[in-house]
Structure formats: C-alpha cells, structure tokens
Symmetry: C2
Subunit: 143 residues, 2 copies
DNA sequence: GCATCTATTGACTTTTTGCAAGTAGCAATA
DNA sequence: TATTGCTACTTGCAAAAAGTCAATAGATGC
C-alpha cells in the first residue's frame, strides 16, 4: 500500500497537510457500522473519505488503530480462515460501546465543523474589510 | 494560564478532543494579519477561536509556535521595552511569506471542511437508512 | 521458481502536544 | 518591605500520535 509522505515544513510555503487527530477512528467505525470487515478491505474503503493518492494513509496505521479500538472494547475480531485468496483475515465487528463511541465522535466532528466554518468566515470577513492588506490597524485596537 | 487537560483514552466513551493538527498556526497568523501583537495578548485573543475553558491551549505552545513561525520566516519580532506593566514583550509582525502561508492554510481548511461535511452527511445518510442499527447488511456488499 | 497480490504485524523514529518549572518585571497592599 | 498577583516569556522532559520501514506469509498465475 502507498505510504504517507512526510511534511517538510514550511519550505514550500505549504501548510501541514490537513489532518484531524485520530480521524481514522470515526472512519473505521463508520465502515464497521455498515458491516463487518477486515483491515485490508477497510484500507481500501477508507479512500472514500479523502484518503486517496494525494492524501494516503499508511496501512500499518489502520491496523494499529483497529487493534487499539479492540483493546478498548470498541470492536471485536475473529479470524476468517475460509478466505478465497491470500492469508487469513482478521475480521472486525462493532460493539455497542463502539457504536456509542462513534456517536460521540460524530457530535464532536459536528462541533469541529462549526468551529472551522466560523474561523473561515472570520477570515473572509477580515479580508473583505481590509482588501487583503495586513498590519493596517492601530495596535491599540482589539482583535 | 490554564493548561490543556490530557485525554484519558476511551475510558469515558469520549472521543479525543477535537483538534486539528497545528491549528494554532493559522489562528496566530490570522490575528497577526489584523495587527502586530505579542504572545500574551495572542494567548488571550485566541480564545475567540474556540480555545476557551473547555478547550484550553497551553501558553507554552503558543510561544513555541510563534518562535517556529519566526524561524521559518512567517513572522518577525522585536522587543517592546516601553510596556506599561510587566516585563518586556516580544512583538510579532507578519511577513509576506506568512501572508501567503496563511492563505495556503485557509485553502487547506476549506478543503478539510468540505471533507468533514461530506463525512458527516454520509453518516447521517447511513443512519437514516438503517435506523441506527449496525451489522445488518450482508458482508458481500460494498461500502 | 518467481513475481504479484492479499493480509497483518512489529520495531524504530519523528513530530506534535502536554505538563511542569523557572525567570523576571512591575504594581498593589498589608 | 515582604508578599502576593499579574504580566510575559522560555526551557526541558515526557507522552501521544503519526510516519517509516521491513518482515512474514498464504495463494495465484506465469
């Protein structure tokens, strides 16, 4: 699988690639809310959530996250040895705790979206007001 | 200043407190786009962006981020010794590179918001469809 | 036999954040 | 004038999160 590229700082004037901390958790949980699945499969499906070629996730991070979710009772797993091809697969299953955890994550992400939207609006408002120029207001003024 | 509380994992069924990686950068840059300011002042103003009592940022992170921005040419700083009260203040000033960096951050945050909104919509869609129940679809179905 | 795809794991490193302590100037007040 | 409190900034260390890389291994097709 493709690997995540490192961020070389501000050299190219590019900000750190947008990433929400632990965002893989709600992604995996939502997929498992739909149906049971194994890691490799989830690694493919996760691309639908914006983890494509331009923003890849390392497979090991997916597996690690799944094991963390299991250790914390959010999912359970069983080995599927009747696989059609390749080695055995660890198939994950969402628990009730995982279901609640997902709901809490979603509430949190809604809040994050609200906050982000407000932040972006504030930026637009400020830029519209000052025609994109900076350090133009007196330093005694409040923000 | 108040400190950020640690996250004790999934024990309480709570997700990791919403945080965008390095989100302090665009926050500080936007404030400095408005006018020059020193760290302590920025630490107060940043609360407007959702860093309040429930979601505090450690002051040291603010100062560290400012020094990082300076090392990378996004801001410059000078000492203000004519302060009305307390010790000298390091006053930060946005550079043109910082201005561009902020613009790149904003483009990135807009993209993040789009992605997040799509993710939330997909969750709602799925929940509306299945009445909130999970593991109900056949494992042969795609996601 | 060898390459390729499927599938998972573990070790190591770096980045980012959290936490604590330290320094220090100035002002009010007891 | 000693103490407290607010302003203001810095540093070191630890922990959390993420990135990097390599290894293992079954199955299939050439």
């Amino acid at each position: 699988m493709r690997r995540g590229r490192p961020w070389r700082g501000a050299e190219e004037g590019e900000p750190c690639p947008r990433r929400l901390r632990r965002f893989l958790e709600p992604c995996l949980l939502l997929l498992l809310h739909k149906r049971d699945a194994h890691g490799y499969e989830l690694a493919e499906a996760i691309k639908l959530f914006g983890f494509d070629e331009r923003n890849p996730v390392d497979a090991s991070l997916i597996y690690r996250t799944l094991r963390w979710l299991e250790r914390n009772g959010m999912v359970t797993s069983t080995w599927d040895t009747t696989s059609t091809a390749g080695p055995a697969r660890r198939v994950y299953h969402l628990t009730q705790a995982g279901d609640r955890y997902l709901a809490a994550w979603m509430a949190d992400l809604r809040e994050t979206t609200r906050m982000l939207t407000a932040f972006l609006a504030e930026y637009e408002r400020h830029m519209a007001e000052g025609q994109g120029e900076y350090h133009k207001t007196k330093s005694t003024q409040s923000f």
